[in-house]
Symmetry: D2
Amino acid sequence: MINITIYNEYIHELQNEKVGEIYPEGIHGAIKNLLSEDKNLNIRTATLKDINESLSNEVLADTDVLFWWGHVAHDKVPEDRVEAVYQRVLAGMGLVVLHSGHYSLPFRRLMATCCRSKWREDGDRERIWVVEHSHPIANGIPEYFDIPHEETYGERFDIPKPDDVVFISNFSGGEVFRSGCTFTRGMGKIFYFRPGHEEFPVYHMEVIGRILRNAANWCYTENKVAPTFGHYPKIEG
Amino acid sequence: MINITIYNEYIHELQNEKVGEIYPEGIHGAIKNLLSEDKNLNIRTATLKDINESLSNEVLADTDVLFWWGHVAHDKVPEDRVEAVYQRVLAGMGLVVLHSGHYSLPFRRLMATCCRSKWREDGDRERIWVVEHSHPIANGIPEYFDIPHEETYGERFDIPKPDDVVFISNFSGGEVFRSGCTFTRGMGKIFYFRPGHEEFPVYHMEVIGRILRNAANWCYTENKVAPTFGHYPKIEG
Amino acid sequence: MINITIYNEYIHELQNEKVGEIYPEGIHGAIKNLLSEDKNLNIRTATLKDINESLSNEVLADTDVLFWWGHVAHDKVPEDRVEAVYQRVLAGMGLVVLHSGHYSLPFRRLMATCCRSKWREDGDRERIWVVEHSHPIANGIPEYFDIPHEETYGERFDIPKPDDVVFISNFSGGEVFRSGCTFTRGMGKIFYFRPGHEEFPVYHMEVIGRILRNAANWCYTENKVAPTFGHYPKIEG
Amino acid sequence: MINITIYNEYIHELQNEKVGEIYPEGIHGAIKNLLSEDKNLNIRTATLKDINESLSNEVLADTDVLFWWGHVAHDKVPEDRVEAVYQRVLAGMGLVVLHSGHYSLPFRRLMATCCRSKWREDGDRERIWVVEHSHPIANGIPEYFDIPHEETYGERFDIPKPDDVVFISNFSGGEVFRSGCTFTRGMGKIFYFRPGHEEFPVYHMEVIGRILRNAANWCYTENKVAPTFGHYPKIEG
């Protein structure tokens, strides 16, 4: 079993009627539904309101892969939670960062670039193309799929060079975006996945579910042999 | 001075009136005009008709960076010329592969994948975005530029993972393409650049000229210290 | 189940008494013993003598991951077997290339560089360090391990830039080597692993077995959705 | 002209007689001597004592490439200088980080990993091998060179995957180290170079000078077209 924790700031759903109708159980609830099809995943959720408990050190220590959705309250996440997530990733916890989570503090700390991009909200059609079919996160995904309406993000997306660019998006208004990117930091594997604007029912799409389940498995680092650092006596022989 | 040789199969221009009007001096002539703005480049051209002379071993030995445009006559390039280009790249000659040159034999030999992609000819608008602004090939290039009408190429483009993806294209019909990709093979640096369909005046665009001049300089390997291979006695000390 | 085929040219063991004593069942037999600890692997072997049958198109079509050990008879492998292995890798078969297999024709065709390195046979101590602990191939492997005596390989190892360098070796005579390297070509994943000179009992070491079992699992591409190439009509919408 | 600033904490040389004899003008003075052979470099120095002036915002704004040597006083560098260096790198300033500078705050902030490694001080022989001969930083460097006595660093060096690993070291005591690594962050190019322990006359070696001059040129980002971020209206056409 892989222990998953889904963090969602859970604000839009409560404050915006339209969003609340799309996600009556919250975005975290919708993602949990998608992940639940994989019986190897043991799933918890956490929200900003009770983040000190739902994303405590104990929860993080018991989390193999953390999903992160946030948008309007990045700066409300307590500093010690940001630090704890960051340290757990270096120690081997996987991290799946969703949509506007690209500007969350844990992701920005791990990337160490500004992590910004261009954006606009015109309800463009997003066409997502698989670029690396052999990557486990692309397993079972068709050559392309469409999201009928999405918020548009555009390059330059200011991130360090990804290990793999699994998906690239075409927006009907003319932008491109590296929408599925993997990174490794310390012992931790990270997957950034672009779609998921709160005003569109993206987390009700089956193809998105498949990608998130693939990501949950891929981000899990099984190895328990950690490197040691510091003074190291000369090895005999 | 950097010694440049531009190879163009030079067939469309002679057989297709429309193409001939766009490129009265041949595609190689138009590219030569673009490169000539850089006074540090010493430029020759070569065509299929006289390839044994214009791309002889002597010419290749004296070439620092080779540009390659081909489309309908990839299989007419003599095997020993393909082999000679391949070996020169491993020995440090730069190679700039243009448009349909992605299916040329030297490029396929160097990539060792099938190098195919999706394509269609509907005169789409191609919008090319800079993804890696710090790369020398992007020097002076605006965030994006448009080619009003181009042949469409679409991912999956079957290439090994590039060292850098400098440009990504959005086509108005919905495709994306990694349009500017760098590779290193042996001592040689390679740049693949997608635009350049013969039926559109792409090689008369100043922004294309800037990219090609940047590429000519970037693909040049200055180092003359080549690695040695084979039996190597134990070093004392 | 993952279908494994182990190819070994199987010449040293029959012609050199010392090698025959180390590997009475052949190097392929020793590797099979190591892999057999993983009950998810379904293992066959193939040798040069009967390569047309033991590595037929049918066997390759039924192989998920191919292991390759060869040294003195690279050029005896029939061209159509080289081509068949190459095409199967692009179509998604994994390939684990061992030791002097770096100069085998399938590996050279896939890398498209000269694939040579420095080498000498002085029975050096090889110390192999894990560089990427989070990579699945490093799972369970200690920070370093020693092979008491090995053939020495030294950089520059003329390969394209690997996706990941999992292991780097220190030789007691002063060389370094990127001993565990991953690549992706088409749909196929490739792992090159340096150790395994026939005159030393490397394939009787448990740590080597763990690495090979990890590699067998990592090189398996589960995705059955292959990209399509060629003319592709405009997508409506 | 490329504007270079060399930062050195300048403590060992003043406090330790042996170090002071090796570097009577300070490590920054020795590095300045090495760089001065390249007449295209316009060189300033900065030290910890007067860092608020010698590495002021004005100096940084006028610096194309910053060299950084620090060891015992990483935490004495004022936070706003760390932040200013970090922001300037993202905006396109090059950064060459030397030896124990791997644990400096600007480098750790840019890498966002722990940046630690193994180490010991036994005066080992370090043999440095060129791995990527075509990289401009390796221009003119022999296949390998020795530093007779150096502090030993050993892998796992906890850094994100480098863009290029140009050099790998073999230490006579058995370690390996990725001693020359390149990274890109934002518009800035970064080179980490391992050698340079204060107790050995490394910065008096001509081969080290050549590498540092190469690095000064390679880390310079010429492009002045920076990406824009934030809301971006739909492009017509």
